[in-house]
């Protein structure tokens, strides 16, 4: 047990959102800003994305992931942020009291405010309930990139890639650069989840793409030996491979939140927040991809910066406690809505929007309702996993008299 210590703001997680929040706090003159990073260095996911583009809006230049992570660390050091690496938070206690473990032992930290910025990870094979044997060689993009860019090891030579999100493209690039040759890319939907490069890129490299196809079996005694696909036409096909790369299907890394006193939102999988990023315990805030799967490093950075500023306001006594809240109910057609509630009185700066993801794509009407009354609506075409933003103002104007509003997306097809 090491000595208990105190800080003004503890930030859990040293990725883009966490570092950006720390920078904002220091720029606002907050004296003690401590980033708690469980890995051996801060930087987050970009540390092992060995390809551009990162950093254009933050630093005005295009960087590779590791260079971007290094820049984040450099900026933090210059700004006087304290980064404690190899420091794992083991429990979140009421009013900003954190339990930690470090190589020197356990410790307690009392923080005036805590910003949770623990990011996202990809959903593993188990939670996807994928059929088959459980051999060595089934992993996610994050693990692959950690293996290639940090440990300099290849986990397989001929994997089958599942998914076509933006990260899937990153996975294909990582494989190609390392001399790993994917045998195919499989996507359950009839089109790629990510925008145009994903549709084109693997094909350019000569990797077969299967849309409307599903991985229905994994075989292998000790290492993956083969996979079975069910193709769009209903036929099955066996594919020889020595690994399965499960890409995307991000979930917030919200383990600490789930085991704590803080409220969790089942839609996003992250902590429940108001428009200031404030959790159910007002000593806690959250920022970045912990809030929802999944945005870019750049988005997370800007979000972290904004939340950092709000927390600085809070420390100055300029963030009013919530007198009343409007709960945002996630209606039909929506997978998630963040923030989950609006605190009144509202103020700026705030997150500024309600961020939504649709359960399925299509053309239809997005509406905000108070019972049967439609407070706001908009016609739009949406795709799964793509960001939808509704300005907070639309809701604030409408929600003055109500405690709950519902947001729903009514697809034309659903009639």
């Amino acid at each position: 047990m090491t000595e208990p210590f105190e800080t003004d703001v503890a930030i859990v997680g040293g990725g883009p959102a966490g570092i950006a929040a720390a920078l904002a706090l220091r720029h606002r003159g907050v004296a003690r800003v401590t980033v708690l990073e469980r890995e051996s260095e801060a930087g987050g996911v970009p540390r092992h994305c060995g390809h551009p583009p990162f950093g254009l809006r933050e630093f005005g230049r295009i960087l590779s992931g590791p260079a971007y992570a290094a820049r984040l660390r450099l900026e933090a050091v210059r700004a006087g942020v304290e980064i404690r690496t190899r420091t794992s938070v083991t429990a979140l206690g009421p009013s900003g009291r954190l339990a930690l473990t470090t190589p020197d032992g356990t410790a307690a930290l009392a923080a005036g405010r805590v910003i949770l910025a623990t990011g996202v990870r990809e959903m593993p094979r188990s939670a996807r309930l994928i059929t088959g044997d459980r051999p060595v060689g089934v992993l996610s993009t994050g693990t692959l990139q950690h293996a290639i860019y940090i440990e300099r090891q290849k986990p397989f030579r001929r994997p089958l890639i599942v998914g076509t999100e933006l990260v899937s493209l990153s996975a294909v690039l990582t494989c190609w650069k390392a001399g790993i040759r994917p045998v195919a890319v499989v996507e359950a939907a009839s089109r790629p989840t990510a925008r145009w490069p994903m549709a084109l890129f693997p094909r350019l490299l000569g990797i077969p793409m299967h849309y409307g196809a599903e991985l229905v079996d994994i075989r292998g005694r000790s290492r993956v030996e083969a996979a079975t696909l069910r193709l769009a036409d209903g036929t099955t096909r066996d594919v020889d491979c020595d690994g399965i790369l499960l890409t995307g299907r991000f979930v917030p890394e919200s383990a600490l939140v789930r085991l704590s006193h803080l409220d969790v939102d089942m839609g996003s999988g992250g902590p429940s927040i108001d428009q200031f990023g404030r959790c159910s315990d007002p000593a806690y805030f959250a920022a970045g991809n912990l809030l929802r799967p999944v945005e870019t490093a750049g988005w997370s950075f800007r979000e972290g910066k904004r939340i950092g500023g709000i927390v600085a306001d809070d420390l100055d006594g300029r963030l009013a406690p919530a007198e009343r809240t409007i709960q945002i109910a996630r209606g039909e057609g929506l997978k998630l809505a963040v923030p989950q509630r609006i605190a009144l009185p509202s103020a700026e700066p705030s997150l500024g929007w309600i961020q939504l993801r649709a359960a399925t794509g299509g053309t239809g009407v997005l509406s905000i309702r108070d019972g049967s009354a439609i407070l706001w609506e908009k016609r739009l075409s949406i795709l799964p996993e793509r960001r939808i933003l509704v300005p907070l103002a639309a809701l604030l104007k409408a929600g003055e008299r109500t405690d709950t509003v519902e947001i729903r997306f009514t697809s034309d097809k659903a009639g």
């Binding site: 032992g105 188990s126 059929t131 693990t143 950690h146 300099r152 986990p155 979930v251 890394e253 085991l259």
Partner: protein, 466 residues
Amino acid sequence: MMTSQSGLFDVAVIGGGVVGCAVARRFALDGARVLLLERASDILSGASKANSALLHTGFDAPPGSLELACMQAGYREYCEIRERMNLPLLETGAMVVAWSEADLARLDSIEAQARANGVDDVRLMEPAEVLAREPHLATSLRGALLVPGEHVIDPWSAPLAYLKQAVAHGAEVLCNAEVLSGRLDAGLWTLETPRGAVRARIVINCAGLFGDEVETRLLGRSDFIIMPRKGQFVVFDKAASALLTTILLPVPNERTKGVVLARTIFGNVLVGPTAEEQLDRTRADVRQEALRDLVAKAVAMVPGLADMPVTAIYAGLRPATEKKEYRVSAKPELRWITIGGIRSTGLTAALGIARHAASLHAGFDDAGFRPVNDPVWPHMPNLAEHGRRDWQADGHGEIVCHCELVTRREIEQALEGPLAAGDVGGLKRRTRAGMGRCQGFYCQARIAALTEGKFAEPLAVEKADD
């Protein structure tokens, strides 16, 4: 795991499952020179790698059976020795929950059987009392039989501790050593394995899923037929443990044995197993439809589980035979003891089975070793969530597996010594690394590096080019 293969052993134990480990320990403590042969690259790789991790009282075992006697002896011995070995016990109790009128009608006879089996502390509970004890249960329940003595244990640290104690008393362990053939010559068995021939005065067949094959290979025939029964399981996130403490057992009926919903010693909640007959003795695959069905059954019992993420899925094969009972026998003239058909109560019964095997051996003409007077008690690393873990101690190096808070020191220790992990499964069972909610997303690359050159099936296939 080198062994003095030219040497002569008193006892060769075939099979490094929970039963083989307990038998090796018993004979080593009784003073025998023991060799344990395991076909896989690590122990606990067959039926013992996947079970429901419960310590049973035997309340529902067949009255008067060897199974009941071994379970109760095993239960007692586990409770006697566990503190000295730092083995955990989560005293949850169990409830046999009736979800229908038909279930409810059967509780009386289950209670009577429990009492007949000497489990006297059982009692029937009204729905209100059940819900007071477990407020997150579905309110449709009709009643329950409380069995306070049913507990949760660590299914891997226990057998590993048994074998560690055996090794401390001179036992040797040979992995990747499937017994291919053997002959009995002038009272001495010679067993051929891919790692060479070994000689022993007595063979104890604890080969589990391959028990009948070993009999056929070495004795020419088997008195039983292994009929593998697959059991699939789903493990929920640790947050789910706030929803349930008591083990929920089903009321068995003619058609199905039903599934168990229970805490794990590691802080999760598990549901399973399925019971699927199959011919394949090695393939224990998980199937999406069965897993979905298990999740649905769990949610029907504890509705709050609908909001809980799935952490892990697994499947194991139980070595059932064409009969329900254990298939245990001794053939003194062949210098052979068979321990077969230990299909689902092996974890509880193992120490009792080992004692029974020793008593069978007492009938052999050369019986009688010199028992160890002052046994060594290996102190196992605690992996139980409710106990003190290594991350809470100073100088652990660093956290490698963040979900399960596994330290670098724990991983290094699991890779050392005569019982070092032989594959990634063995490392997981010894440390929990990669067993948590991210299933290796964050730590697998690091573990691949830490285990380079140590495993039969490495996590990394080669160096990456720059």
